[in-house]
């Protein structure tokens, strides 16, 4: 898992996207003259990002999600895999009040392919103009921009700040949701409740899933001001790190207690997040703060960012400051070594070291970014961004694939260019 495969498959994103766009279109070519909104009518839309990222460090990979195989840094000084992705969406009107949507996204995965995945696929029943019920795979309403974070064109940056968004590698859940539009005076609200579960697509024999996933989200728009509050809880399980916990369990009651405390085995996790954006057109400011809490090796983290920019003709220069910190200590004394025979003490020390290594997974990092978005035409934007990133306090931050030479508390630089489009 920690190695990079040289000579990767060259993904041909353009062909892939054409296939995604044409596949459903060809199948429904008879219906092209139907008016949208009538049963049987459909529309296809899509989005994508062509990105190239350079990172100055060589001891780990900088990327956007732990569900990616590699990034810029140790694997390759330059990487197209950090931000590049393509998505296509088919919207179908089934009957009056009934509609269906399928969204497929292709991006680098843990198996180092760009095999498209069904990001979401659901059937919607529009009970009233304000109230919609959906069943199927549904985008998770987390963070200010999480449910459209794969649509680069929709936000000013090359990517949403990784310090907050990296905490949630999943973006959809299988289940049901209800969305209600409601207003009080000049304030327009959208409230969404989601219930479902999520199987994270990691490489076998690893597994990771969330059960009893419940989320509540409310967005209030008042003129140019928008405020969003999200809450989510789930019971999460993964066998990542299970070898270590098996080893701990072999050391009797103290080891079993440590394993119970830190293993991600049916552990309650919750996230709370508040975000705001003020965008009167000529300039904008966005800020978010959140807390992710689990009673496991992932611990509790607090994240926040603030970003602002102004728009001058087709250019939008912007700057962002972002950080994530663990609440409390991420170090663990582990099993006591006192009085152990030297051979056993060495084994126990190794297990303790392994445990602390896992605990360093708790993300602690700050970054400052400056960039510019250039709207080439409606539906297409080119972005340049520079990030100064620093994992802190022994953490490896949001980095993946660390080599033994990796050291925390050293800043590195990231330069990115991205071409975003929607159609």
């Amino acid at each position: 898992m920690l190695q990079s495969i040289p000579g990767r498959q060259a993904a041909c994103p353009l062909l892939l996207m054409l296939a995604l766009a044409l596949g459903p279109a060809a199948a429904h070519a008879r219906d092209v003259d139907a008016e949208s909104g009538k049963p049987g009518s459909w529309s296809v839309s899509g989005f994508g990002t062509l990105g190239l990222t350079h990172a100055s460090l060589r001891q780990a990979d900088y990327t956007t999600s732990v569900l990616k195989k590699s990034g810029a840094g140790a694997s390759h000084p330059w990487s197209v895999d950090v931000d590049s992705r393509f998505g296509a969406q088919l919207d179908l009107t089934l009957a009056r009040r009934w509609s269906a949507v399928v969204q497929v996204v292709s991006e680098q995965r843990l198996d180092n392919t760009y095999r498209p995945q069904v990001e979401w696929a659901n059937i919607k029943y529009q009970l009233t103009p304000e109230l919609a019920l959906r069943v199927g795979r549904i985008a998770l309403p987390m963070f200010l921009t999480a449910d459209y974070r794969k649509v680069g064109y929709a936000y000013p940056w090359v990517r949403p700040p990784v310090e907050g968004y990296g905490a949630l590698p999943i973006s959809s859940s299988d289940g049901i949701d209800a969305t209600l539009h409601w207003g009080i005076g000049r304030v327009h609200n959208v409230t969404q409740a989601v219930y479902g579960h999520e199987d994270v697509d990691v490489a076998a024999p690893l597994y990771a899933y969330g059960r009893g996933l419940a989320a509540l989200s409310n967005t209030s728009a008042w003129g140019d001001l928008s405020v969003r509050i999200n809450m989510m809880r789930a019971e999460i399980t993964t066998n990542a790190g299970s070898q270590l916990f098996d080893a701990l369990t072999a050391f009797g009651a103290p080891g079993q207690a440590l394993a119970r405390r830190y293993a991600i085995d049916h552990k309650e996790a919750d996230m709370l997040n508040i975000g705001m954006s003020y965008d009167p057109g000529r300039w904008f400011v966005m800020a978010e703060a959140g807390r992710t809490r689990t009673r496991s090796l992932l611990g509790t983290t607090h994240n926040a960012y603030i970003s602002g920019g102004w728009r001058w003709r087709a250019l939008t220069p912007y700057a962002t400051w972002s950080r994530v910190r663990a609440a409390g200590s991420t170090a663990e004394n582990g099993l006591p070594l006192d009085g152990l025979p030297p051979a056993l003490a060495a084994q126990v020390a190794a297990v303790n070291g392994g445990l602390n290594n896992l605990l360093a997974t708790a993300t602690q990092q700050t970054s400052a970014a400056a960039g510019v978005r250039w709207d080439l035409r409606t539906g297409m934007a080119l972005k340049l961004q520079y990030d100064r990133v620093k994992p802190i306090d022994g953490s490896r931050g949001t980095l993946i694939n660390p080599t033994p030479a990796f050291r925390s508390d050293r800043a590195f630089h990231v330069a990115s260019v991205a071409l975003d489009f929607v159609y």
């Binding site: 353009l14 996207m17 766009a21 279109a25 070519a29 092209v32 003259d33 139907a34 008016e35 949208s36 909104g37 529309s43 296809v44 839309s45 899509g46 989005f47 998505g87 969406q89 919207d91 949507v101 979401w120 659901n122 919607k124 103009p129 304000e130 959906r134 549904i138 985008a139 449910d147 459209y148 794969k150 649509v151 064109y153 929709a154 936000y155 969305t179 539009h181 207003g183 000049r186 327009h188 959208v190 728009a221 003129g223 140019d224 965008d279 057109g281 728009r311 087709a314 250019l315 250039w374 709207d375 080439l376 035409r377 409606t378 539906g379 297409m380 071409l419 489009f421 929607v422 159609y423």
Partner: protein
């Protein structure tokens, strides 16, 4: 809800090719954020059917309907907004004045809505005359037209200076 320009396969391909090819050829860079505006003197009016009981709307109420945030007129009647053609000066001026959104920001707004399943943009009609005709016959419809295109078949509920 109502779309009068059904999406054809070749249009998808055109849009796709345009997005990938023309945009790279940065010939019209700057056009995205600097829309062609109407001359300052030419007002726009927001119109509803003469059969719609609504007599006046504020700019923020109109913006909420056209951005997919409000589904109804203030009196509770369901609202069906109608857009003008993408790239038309009337449309670009309307969204700049009513919602502070240039074409790129409007596209970004609908990208958020469409790709999260929260809504689809209003249907499009060719010009002010087509919008006026459609609004006149549909009590739920709401559109924006040049003031010069206004006649007694529709009711102006907001003047956008």
């Amino acid at each position: 809800m109502l779309q009068f320009q059904p999406m054809h396969l070749h249009r998808h391909l055109q849009r796709l090719c345009a997005a990938l090819a023309c945009g790279l050829a940065i010939g019209n860079a700057g056009a995205a954020a600097s829309p062609v505006r109407l001359p300052p003197a030419s007002d726009l009016v927001v119109v509803v059917s003469a059969r719609n009981p609504v007599t006046a709307l504020r700019a923020d109420q109109v913006a909420a309907i056209f951005l997919g945030q409000a589904m109804r007129f203030p009196d509770g009647v369901e609202a069906a907004p109608l857009d003008q053609r993408i790239g038309s000066p009337v449309r670009d001026t309307f969204y700049l004045r009513v919602a502070n959104k240039n074409p790129a920001l409007l596209k970004a707004h609908w990208s958020k809505m469409v790709f999260t399943g929260r809504g689809q943009p209003p249907g499009e009609l060719e010009d002010s005359a087509a919008v006026r005709r459609k609004v006149a016959e549909d009590p739920n419809a709401i559109g924006y037209i040049e003031r010069s295109a206004l006649d007694a078949s529709v009711r102006a509920v907001l003047v956008v200076p």
